[in-house]
Symmetry: C2
Subunit: 119 residues, 2 copies
């Protein structure tokens, strides 16, 4: 597995609207991957911790404790979130800082919008 495929370089901010029209198999798989990143309690809590941070970012070292999982597990979940584009990472010295990508979250919300005012 060449890990060369950095997602946030390739994933645009916009995504097809789930409720706007029937999705093709391909589109559905793409959006599903984003939702899958949120389909785990640990990752939801991580996202909440990041969003709640005063500084807008959190050091990975400060996420292991509150999550109550091992360091490799937290690292794994952060990787999933990062690959989904919902989170970005920045290495500063020994530490790695993570923060939410608001545009990506907003894109997710937009995907849940119906096409018109129909209910």
């Amino acid at each position: 597995m060449t890990g060369a495929r950095s997602v946030d370089a390739e994933v645009g901010v916009c995504c097809p609207a789930v409720l706007g029209s029937p999705l093709s198999e391909e589109e559905a798989a793409d959006v599903a991957k984003m939702f899958a990143a949120l389909a785990d309690p640990a990752r939801l809590r991580l996202l909440g911790l990041l969003a709640d941070a005063e500084a807008g970012e959190v050091c990975a070292c400060d996420l292991v404790g509150p999550l109550g999982r091992s360091q490799p597990t937290v690292s794994h979940h952060l990787k999933v979130l990062h690959e989904s584009g919902l989170v970005e990472r920045e290495k500063r010295g020994t530490w790695v800082w993570y923060r939410v990508v608001p545009e990506r979250v907003e894109a997710l919300r937009a995907a849940l919008l119906p096409r018109d005012g129909r209910r």
Copy 2:
């Protein structure tokens, strides 16, 4: 349910804001279950088909074909969507009609809202 924070059993309309504050393990598990319902291409397409229906509802018999999966598989996915509260079902005679629950979708969108205007 021990949560005073009304994660609201399962079928309630409201749900805790993922980005509003760090979620407890219990809350996170509950919300994660909702996102998990969307973390599959087949179910996303089902939801799209329902949302796109002119009549606002679709007979299960009209979902098997477009999805390209077996009838038991479609039935399984519809069950997952229904149990998440995103979809409701109504049996009329031999057929079962499914439709999106807009309030639940909106609740999901709300869960992705940051607590304040912070970015």
